[in-house]
Symmetry: C2
Subunit: 698 residues, 2 copies
């Protein structure tokens, strides 16, 4: 899963019956971790102190996870989690994505403009408040009331935290068990996160897309960041010590992190909608865009460098969606889903309601306007950073003028600092890439809405989609942070007066886009949320607490073992070693070893373990998660799953689903023997055992 | 269906129950046309003379249909059927695809290098011979015996025809009703076909991909060829006269032509395989290639011109597959299929066999090697004209040395002239396009087979797929017809000795490719053919002759009426007019009117009818078919269907499935008032009424 998590698929939250046969299944919240079952099964004690230590050492990054690994704020995460930071810190002379980075006297640690690091410090259940707010309302009104209440709860939480001595926290409303529970999650946020180390992309992503979601594997997908406070390295006493010798085969290991989204409790109707509508359309768009990226990249080396990171993300998305589609073509999966629904329906008290049928009815409505919604409001028709800036501005200045609780959720007071940070960031924008992505999406907008759709008629009255895209990108000034800043500060009047063509485009379509969003919320999301909550309550009633919620990019912990699996009857060992990486190097990307590695080849111990396969239940968003042993030491760095793990979105297959981690011994070899990063290695090694004295017995 | 028919989907032949409710459904062979039902329903008499006249005036082109429309060999067909001829006849100075062509004294009619025109003159049933040849054999042995027997029958047929005064005919074995009947079809072949007229692509394909498979419609998708014999225009007394006033709304009309393939009698298991495996994979490859084509085209005008025709074909294929996939996601279609199977199973005497289960079992085997088969033998991994030349050579010289009946079917004595024609053709090959298509397909070969597959390891040991593609295209000499000629004449020894890298590539993979083909024939095609024949016999026994066979790119006739339909409750009229074409012109492709049309705008009658919607049951391969009235006059030129017609591959929807024709009045306006093609128009008008005196009563 070489990409940060993004909410590309419909995200439903619910509970999943933890069958005894799947002991390693489950993405548990820290307050319901099944420590007793783990003790019985593996003979290790996970204590409250262990849990608190690991929770406070785990960091949420933008779409990824990391962990504190020194007392001075060092964060260990994946290379693919910092690619956009590397691109932003690059210059014409130094491409940090390709060439890597190691901070030293001459090259200070560089700030990642939009990166924040969040640590979960407290949670508070607010289910009762939400339940009270929506009581007696129909689905659409309930959805609106729920949004308002969540905004107000977040607002009060942040205001209250600001009055406490520990300082202001970020408060985020979280729905678990699909309306079975609502929480406020309170995070300590580090706003200043800087780049310390990253290897070359050729070794970080060795094997590239062909090897992505594969094991055996040889990718040094690591990077190191550092959290700062008040301009100085943050003091982080709660951090993980690294055991560079790594784990043993069969050893129980734990993954703490922020799995992005799973759909294990979607109804059969929802899975069929994903199979028949969502995935095929998304795959078609992605595959075509990949073709454009590749043709662009092959034109010359400069193009290839520009498109490298977006291409990585896109290829990852394609592989994921391909395998999700394969999983949904497994009739047995759908049949199990039907059987579960029949069982639950028979057991539940539903007061004459049929929530499964209600969800199917809402999806039938969605089908009626899926294409306009996806292309106009969902952004599939306007794939462009510049368009997204323009929409942030047009909507942001309008929403800002409303009372906090009446705003779209992404523009509440709690969310506005993120908007401002995005608008202010000096991220590079490449006009030729922008024109290409916008051209590709406008072409498809016209195809899917049809040339006689009023929007097509309006946009393309005098020019082709490609011509329109080129003109918009050439003429807009919005790539300039100062221009964005002026508009943001100038507010609604400034944005209304703007003659910038991208602003004009967004202004022109926004009434229709907002209407589609409203229709989606009223006719689809609201009814589905209400029906899913009914199902969740029925499931709660039937199965109690032996359940875990679907992933929601919130903090979870799970247990597994270091273990391979059997592929077509052939055993796949749990460890890979450096030897095979050299054997696989062809000289051509993505199987090209960086020069530094070729130069160091003779002095490296080729028997060094490289990657680890474990049975932990993780998904995208867990990228960069620490793999932790029973004593609380970091023994690996998660960066991927095997090919079977993709289907884990819908169901966990204990026999075949495996997570993939970088072995810490390989990190040691890289830092000490390839990059000469002695000071960094010393800091990572000196971290001591922060859990000393509180360590669980093994 | 702006593309010639290609056998991209599994082609199954069978019989379809003609329900009385679907009177316009059916692709009838000429010897079983339901003239009596047509007389009852429409009050028109279709006589044996009418049938013979129309049959002899109908021409089979490469993947398309045409009709003789003068006594001197003029053939009317679509522009999109002659695009490759236009490209081949273009020069640096004159791009005939873009600019069009009209033969005159200075620009003689130019020969289309690979185009032939076939007229069906006789058919002979050979079912008994085939049945005898396969009696008592298992599925794989039967498949082999069937191939041998078909080759020998074709050989004898051609030898016998050569001894007759009318001259040598092309004989082709045809399977109808899936083993219910086998035929030899005997064609008079015109080997010399020349280009007479084509309009600019901007008006021929006005609306481009956005309007493809749409109605209302305004595309002048017409071209005129001429058949030659012995260097002179062929004498073609059997030709259609054109009624330039066109048909009336509601009038019964007939389409004669060569529908390519339908799958109306595939089993549910086959449809599911197409839905879950075939179409998603093909769509992904096509969408990515479209992205590469578009990015290539947008780089500059020269690139755009090079890629125009392949892009047209590709976009058509994408739209078709998208809509086929939509059709297969209609559970009601699959449920009807299951119901039919249950009914037939209950009615049939199957001697304990379960052919539906046998087909499902064969598909399960196919699934096991679908990717290697598709990429290595099916060519999805080597999308390149140069590769196909190399494979023709490597296989052709080897097969030629075997006894005729032992060869692969595409290299029998009957087929070798076509091979030689292909190898000799001086078709332009553009290295940058070749490198792009080969690169794209090699990239996916590695993705789908995996980087550790032995073939991937061998092909990409030292370079990327893109690098390999560029080198192969740069270094091969096979684009040169003289080089191909030398190798073809040099035979197996010359090809074995060749150091041409493309020949070496094909030689290297051919053992594996042939093994995959053999496995496919033995494990998949053989068992499916045997089981499908069982089903066909059961259907025959149950329903007798009230059935028509699935399309097989052989001659068919059907009846319909000039009629629109209702789209979301809104009536779509049966005719469009020139007025709206001008109103839709934006100045940007594909809605750009050629200059000649803009210049002529003021003198044209804007109320001229442009296109016609009819309820005839046609599919790809019918492109260029004549639309014929009850008196045997040409009243339209088929070139497309509406969006609902795509699902006609699986079932005919009488309420919504419509065919789209060019109105002959528009052809008259174009020839006389836009192109000044007075001589051509005079020849088309002078054709008289060849059926005069034999005309059916109206």
């Amino acid at each position: 899963m070489r990409v940060r998590w993004r909410g590309t698929l419909i995200c439903l939250i619910g509970a999943w019956l933890a069958a005894a046969a799947h002991a390693d299944e489950g993405m548990w919240t820290f307050d319901h971790f099944p420590a007793q079952e783990v003790a019985q099964r593996y003979g290790v004690q996970i204590t409250p102190a262990w849990l608190e230590h690991v929770r406070l050492a785990t960091v949420r990054l933008n779409g990824c996870t990391g962990s504190f690994v020194s007392s001075d704020g060092l964060i260990l995460t994946n290379h693919h989690c910092v690619e956009s930071c590397l691109a932003a810190l690059s210059s014409q002379d130094a491409n940090l994505v390709d060439g890597g980075f190691l901070a030293d006297e001459r090259h200070p640690e560089g700030r990642c403009a939009t990166q924040v690091a969040d640590v979960l410090v407290a949670t508070e259940e607010v289910t009762a408040q939400i339940t009270a707010a929506v009581a007696g309302l129909d689905a659409a009104a309930a959805a609106s009331a729920r949004r308002r209440t969540l905004t107000l709860l977040e607002q009060r939480c942040e205001q209250a935290s600001a009055r406490r001595p520990a300082g202001r926290l970020k408060c985020q409303a979280v729905s678990l068990y699909e309306g079975g529970q609502y929480f406020l999650y309170e995070y300590k946020r580090y706003e200043d996160v800087r780049l310390v180390f990253a290897p070359e992309s050729d070794i970080a992503a060795f094997g590239g897309d062909p090897d992505n979601f594969q094991f055996p594997r040889w990718s040094l997908d690591v990077s190191v960041l550092r959290a700062y406070e008040n301009g100085k390295p943050a003091h982080t006493p709660q951090h993980l010590s690294i055991d560079f010798d790594g784990p043993r085969e069969g050893e129980p290991v734990f993954v703490s992190g922020h799995p992005g989204t799973t759909s294990r409790l979607e109804t059969r109707a929802q899975l069929e909608f994903t199979r028949d509508v969502v995935l095929p359309q998304a795959l078609l768009r992605s595959a075509e865009l990949r073709g454009r990226y590749l043709q662009f990249a092959f034109a010359n080396a400069a193009n290839a460098a520009l498109i490298e990171a977006p291409l990585d993300n896109l290829e990852n998305a394609i592989k994921v969606r391909r395998k999700l589609l394969d999983a949904l073509h497994d009739d047995a999966l759908l049949e199990r889903k039907s059987a579960e629904e029949r069982t639950l329906r028979a057991a539940a008290h539903l007061d004459g309601e049929d929530p499964w049928r209600q969800i199917a009815a809402a999806l039938a409505k969605e089908r009626d306007f899926y294409e306009p919604y996806t292309f106009i409001e969902g952004g599939a028709g306007f794939n462009s950073i510049l368009f997204r800036y323009a929409r942030l501005l047009v909507r942001g200045v309008e929403e800002r003028t409303k009372p906090n609780a009446d705003r779209l959720r992404e523009f509440t007071d709690a969310a506005l600092p993120r908007v401002a940070r995005q608008l202010a960031a000096r991220l590079p924008v490449y006009p030729e890439v922008e024109a290409m992505t916008l051209s590709a999406s406008l072409e498809r907008l016209r195809e899917w809405l049809g040339p006689d759709d009023p929007l097509s008629q309006q946009l393309f009255a005098h020019d082709s989609p490609d011509g329109v895209a080129i003109r918009l990108v050439a003429e807009t000034q919005i790539a300039d942070p100062a221009v964005r800043q002026r508009l943001w500060e100038g507010g609604a009047a400034a944005v209304r007066a703007s003659r910038d063509p991208m602003i004009e485009l967004v202004r022109g379509i926004d009434p229709q886009a907002r209407a589609l969003r409203r229709r989606y919320e009223d006719e689809v999301d609201g009814p589905i949320t209400a029906a899913a909550a009914r199902i969740a309550r029925a499931r709660f009633a039937a199965y109690g607490t032996r359940v875990y919620p679907d992933a929601t990019f919130t903090l979870r912990l799970n247990v597994g073992t270091v273990s391979g699996w059997n592929e077509h009857g052939r055993p796949i060992p749990a460890f890979t070693h450096l030897e095979r990486a050299f054997a696989r190097a062809t000289g051509a990307r993505p199987f090209k070893m960086p020069d530094r590695w070729l130069a160091a080849a003779d002095r490296l111990d080729r028997s060094t373990p490289f990657c680890i396969s474990t049975s932990n239940d993780i998904v995208g968003g867990n990228s960069g998660s620490p793999l932790i042993d029973a004593r609380g030491r970091l023994v690996g760095l998660m960066f991927d799953g095997n090919i079977h793990s993709i289907a884990g979105d819908y169901a966990f297959d204990a026999a075949n689903n495996r997570a993939v981690a970088l072995h810490p011994a390989m990190l040691r070899v890289a830092l000490e023997q390839v990059y000469g990063a002695h000071a960094l290695f010393a800091e990572l090694s000196a971290s001591g055992d922060a859990l000393a004295g509180r360590a669980a017995a093994r």
